[in-house]
């Protein structure tokens, strides 16, 4: 089946801006907050949020970090090849901070579980919230939910959602791929955002 564009660049940008405003709504100037992107693809969203928050607020009051979860994954020796690590950069004390973990797609919840595990090796934050651009609800394998969501996607098993970024892929967009013979498409998902139409 032809891939469906769920978010093209305009709606993509609006969604990121909305997420920033939601953070500001809940946390004011974001003092005491730590924005932490998960490697490898969550950091792209986290960097975008950091830059946009700075331009909205005028200053950066929150801490910013990037976290690699490779060695905390639960699929070591389940995969054909081992995952190799990316960079972790957390140069602030986590103790007592409100953390917002940032990832591009929430799917089974296993990456977030590994992310929480990796995060807690650095200290004891006062709370952890989860922000994702895409939440593929109904696909969870662990009891994990998001607090801030760019877009909900009701997808089924053999479909794939990819998030592309201007910085590395040439343009901002979110695409739903369905393999041929993939069967039914859950209702209401094969629609892009009206902002792009």
């Amino acid at each position: 089946m032809k891939p469906v564009t769920l978010l093209a660049s305009k709606a993509f940008g609006l969604t990121v801006t909305r997420l920033c405003h939601q953070l500001i709504e809940d946390h004011g100037k974001l003092e005491g907050l730590a924005l932490i992107g998960l490697q490898p693809r969550g950091v792209l969203l986290a960097r975008r949020l950091r830059d946009e928050l700075r331009s909205i607020i005028g200053q950066q009051h929150h801490a910013y970090g990037e976290l690699d979860i490779t060695f905390h994954r639960d699929d070591f020796r389940h995969r054909a090849t081992p995952a190799t690590p990316s960079v972790t950069a957390l140069d602030f004390d986590l103790e007592g901070r409100k953390v917002v973990l940032v990832d591009d797609v929430l799917y089974t919840g296993r990456s977030i579980r590994a992310g929480l595990d990796a995060l807690l090796a650095f200290g004891r934050p006062s709370s952890v919230h989860l922000l994702v651009l895409i939440d593929r609800r109904f696909s969870r394998e662990l009891p994990i939910q998001s607090d801030y969501v760019g877009k909900w996607v009701d997808s089924i098993g053999d479909q794939r959602v990819t998030v592309e970024w201007k910085e590395i892929d040439g343009q901002d967009r979110v695409i739903l791929h369905t393999s041929d013979g993939g069967g039914r498409v859950a209702s209401g998902i094969a629609k892009g955002s009206t902002a792009d139409q």
């Binding site: 693809r41 060695f71 905390h72 070591f76 054909a80 090849t81 081992p82 690590p85 892929d169």
Partner: protein, 327 residues
Amino acid sequence: MSLKTKSPSTPPSDQLSVEHLLGIRDLGAADIELIFRTADGFKEVLGRPIKKVPSLRDITIANLFFESSTRTRVSFELAERRLSADVVNFSSGGSSVSKGETLVDTVNNILAMKVDMVVMRHPDPGAAQFLSRHVDARIVNAGDGTHEHPTQALLDAYSIREKLGRVRGVKVLIVGDILHSRVALSNIFCLQMLGAEVMLCGPSTLMPKHIDALGVKVERDLDKALRWCDVANMLRIQLERQNGDGIANFPSLREYAMLYGLDIERYQRIGRDVVIMHPGPINRGVEVTSEVADHANSIILDQVENGVAIRMAVLYLLAARIPRTGV
């Protein structure tokens, strides 16, 4: 509208080409790059408040040391524990080996207790190779006689990469007892594979015949050799391996230190920032004097620190190839 191909979230390399780490000679440059990249991740883990990851929590590792070792054994054990592996230690003193048990029997008895990987140091060259053919476990060679010491060579090259930013094109001088040195042999293989130039320097009695067949330069005069190099790796004089055939290889330690030892005067005569390495343990005043060992250009303690990250990377990548049982 053309799109760039989506850059994958999985990095380009995948897994080691070997099931055991027996020697550098079995590896390819891609394997070494993969080990280094993985070690970068572990180095970061070692800087965390909690220096431990759960990757190997279902793996049991036996450390078999049939030859004395402090640094390598501690380094391996720390690496294993920081990967959350279960660890059993075994050293030959006071064990069944002294009661006449063969190597294969000893190891098979340990493996019967459900051990997945074996880290072994042994005085006989080829012992790790032999074991890998006869027992069902992943073998990591922690030094086999005068043959290879692959993790030492990896951590040496990794430390050079860290200090100078690259290994390719770097001129590395290895000084001392080349004849008895597994560190030298593994280093030569590793450095050449990564594109470094290697020169050896030492007394002719401690220089293997035809060593230049490996494509290394040989220089008798230490001062000349030091002027050539970017990095000087000062090997330990292995007092326990000298006089094996009843003939002294050099007249005295004092004479060795005068001709092949690096003191601060000799170091300053080079006139450049040559990086100082030593695989340890140092005989201070023999291979290097204290001022040189503790000099700002000495990376001796960085080598030790990097050893844990390199060994974590090797164990992690080898363990990834162990098929899962049960379930």
